[in-house]
């Protein structure tokens, strides 16, 4: 059996293991080990494993992953979500559908200091959902808007998925964050536009809230400046070269912790923050360890290189290939979470994309742009059936709303997602302008 055939076979075995509920990290690890032993024998593997786990974890850039998760947990316990929603609702709540738009805006704000979509959906849902219901919003619109808004947690940097992509693709984390800013803002605006269109078609779904006086608005806005300051310090500091990503994450974590403390976080919540950071960090790094073994085997099997050469030999329209890859992500998203998809596919898809002639972009720019596109498509899996985790989280907060109703409520936002992705593919400059400008 050739290396490529073995690689393909092992991929099939991996899919079977995954469907049989084997934890994703364990399945990747097992398949990687089996394939490695087949191709190279037990001794090289045994020697690889002497340092592999330590080497995989002791990476300076990876330290930002637990730090960003800790920062997000502090933000969750610091009541920042309430301040953000209050300010957004004060500004735009008096429009028809404005409360839902405020929920989305607040999600975007929370996403600016939290790198996780599930955390964003859970926190903002707890604050905004009761408010939306109280103002007479239809359950469909209220739950749909917040489930979709939650994805902004990861679309707007800092983003844990982007950090992992940067390390896999050997790209600069700061540049990837900068590249994701405009698409992230576009995502928030697109979701708000989706609300606007929806309430025009169904005027009863999102009644206008009360209009606040400017003095009151300013008071609400004052609660939000620390969030903006932290975001600018972290993302601006990384890109401006003032901080390494780890330094920025450390400063951001410290600032968010102090902020949370000033807003009533105490020892009990602090310990809760540590434990919940422990759980999500371990989940991510266990998959990372498995993916590492799998990728060592895949590289040995030559499968990614051969596949890239084969696709190039097809002579297909480069954009058609790119769209096919993105579509595949959406389908995979029905099965897997965002991070597992990135870890599983980037070593295979990135060489293909780098081999295509796309708008004459050079390799680094292509890798950064593809990272942003991949981030956008993997996040769709969070709000599509059968297992849209954000939909589950928001729906669990509204027990009287049937799950199908929330999935229906998400539909307008999926249309916004699809349109945005097409625009981002056709105009790479949207992702790359900020990166080029800051150079």
């Amino acid at each position: 059996m050739s290396g490529v055939e073995l690689g393909a076979l092992m991929f099939g075995v991996l899919v079977l293991l995954l469907l049989a509920r084997v934890p994703i990290g364990a399945a990747m690890f097992g398949v990687g080990v089996a394939g490695y032993v087949w191709l190279a024998g037990w001794l090289p593997l045994a020697s690889h494993l002497k340092n592999a786990a330590f080497g995989r974890f002791a990476v300076y850039d990876l330290s930002v992953v637990p730090l960003f998760l800790l920062m997000g947990n502090f933000a969750t316990h610091g009541g920042l979500s309430r301040a953000l929603f209050g300010a957004a609702a004060g500004l735009i709540g008096h429009f028809r559908g404005g409360m839902a738009m405020a929920g989305i805006g607040a999600c975007a704000g929370f996403g600016a200091i939290c790198g996780s979509s599930l955390a964003t959906a859970a926190t903002m849902g707890q604050v905004a959902l009761p408010e939306l219901r109280r103002h007479g919003y239809s359950p469909r619109l209220a739950t749909g808007a917040l489930a979709a808004g939650g994805t902004l947690g990861i679309l707007i940097p800092p983003s844990v998925v982007l950090v992992i992509y940067a390390i896999l693709a050997q790209q600069n984390i700061g540049k990837l964050f900068a590249a994701a800013v405009v698409p992230g803002v576009l995502a928030a605006l697109g979701y708000m536009a989706a609300v606007a269109v929806y309430v025009r078609l169904h005027p009863g779904a999102g009644p206008a809230g009360p209009r606040l006086a400017w003095r009151q608005r300013l008071r609400e806005l004052r609660g939000v400046w620390p969030v903006l300051a932290i975001f600018l310090t972290v993302v601006g500091g990384i890109y401006g070269g003032v901080f390494t990503p780890t330094e920025a994450a450390s400063v951001g974590t410290l600032a968010t912790a102090l902020l949370a403390w000033s807003r009533g976080m105490r020892r009990r919540q602090f310990v809760q923050c540590l434990l919940s950071t422990a759980e999500s960090t371990a989940m991510i790094f266990f998959i990372l360890l498995g993916a590492d073994l799998l990728n060592v085997f895949l590289a040995l099997s030559q499968l990614p290189a051969e596949l890239a050469a084969w696709v190039q030999g097809l002579g297909a329209q480069p954009l058609a290939v790119l769209f096919a890859i993105l579509l595949l992500y959406v389908l995979l998203g029905c099965l897997m979470d965002a991070l597992s998809m990135i870890l599983l596919t980037v070593p295979i898809f990135l060489p293909i994309v780098l081999g295509l002639d796309l708008f004459g972009l050079e390799a680094t720019e292509k890798a950064i742009w593809f990272g942003v596109l991949a981030l956008m498509v993997v996040e769709i899996g969070l709000i599509t059936p059968p297992v849209g985790m954000n939909v589950y989280i928001i729906n669990s907060l509204a027990r009287d709303v049937p799950m199908a109703e929330t999935f229906r409520g998400v539909a307008p936002f999926l249309i916004a997602d699809a349109l945005r992705i097409v625009v981002l593919v056709l105009f790479p400059v949207l992702s790359l302008a900020l990166v080029r400008w800051m150079q």
Binding site: L19, G25, A46, K50, F57, A278, M283, F285
Partner: protein, 175 residues
């Protein structure tokens, strides 16, 4: 993709309390390392700005700290059933079948934990013999290997404990 949720009524394993206490202790120790890292890194930035003197070795401390903290988190996550899996085919399967499959999944995690712990302890001995140290602070690298290897061993024990619990549930009188 759903996490299998221990709060959904999974029975404790045979080692229940002890493993639980150890895993929480490891997780909190890892958390303390993480917090220490943020403080040290922030102090280093202050030092750089105020006295143009960063904390020596902040880079390698962050490296070692990440490895130690992350590994220490693993047993807690396993015990909480926090590792992601694909729930596409099995979401509507009978609870006993799911429990049986989860027992196998946990066995796989346990095998990985023990395998990696064993290989790391061999790697540790090699590094110790070679006297390898970090560049700036000259910390012997094998020191950091000790907690990491111990964490993987505890991961193995925790996953094994959960595998037994799941197996009991699969064989037990309905679920």
């Amino acid at each position: 993709m759903l996490l299998d949720d221990p709060r959904a009524g999974a029975p404790p394993g045979p080692l229940g309390r002890i493993v639980q206490a150890l895993a929480v202790a490891f997780a909190l120790a890892g958390g303390a390392v993480l917090v220490a890292m943020t403080l040290a890194t922030s102090a280093s930035i202050l030092g750089r700005w105020l006295f143009s003197r960063p904390l020596p070795g902040d880079y390698e401390l962050a490296q070692l700290g990440t490895a130690v903290a992350v590994a220490a988190f693993l047993p807690y996550c396993a015990l909480r059933g926090g590792h992601v899996l694909v729930d596409f085919l099995t979401a509507r399967a009978p609870a006993r079948l799911r429990a049986a499959l989860d027992a196998l999944g946990n066995l796989a995690i346990a095998a990985i934990g023990f395998l990696v712990a064993w290989r790391l302890s061999v790697g540790l001995a090699d590094l110790r013999a070679a006297g390898e140290t970090t560049m700036v602070l000259a910390i012997p690298t094998w020191w950091a290997y000790v907690p990491v290897a111990a964490s993987f061993a505890l991961l193995g024990v925790a996953a094994l404990d959960r595998a037994v619990a799941m197996l009991r549930r699969a064989l037990g009188a309905g679920a």
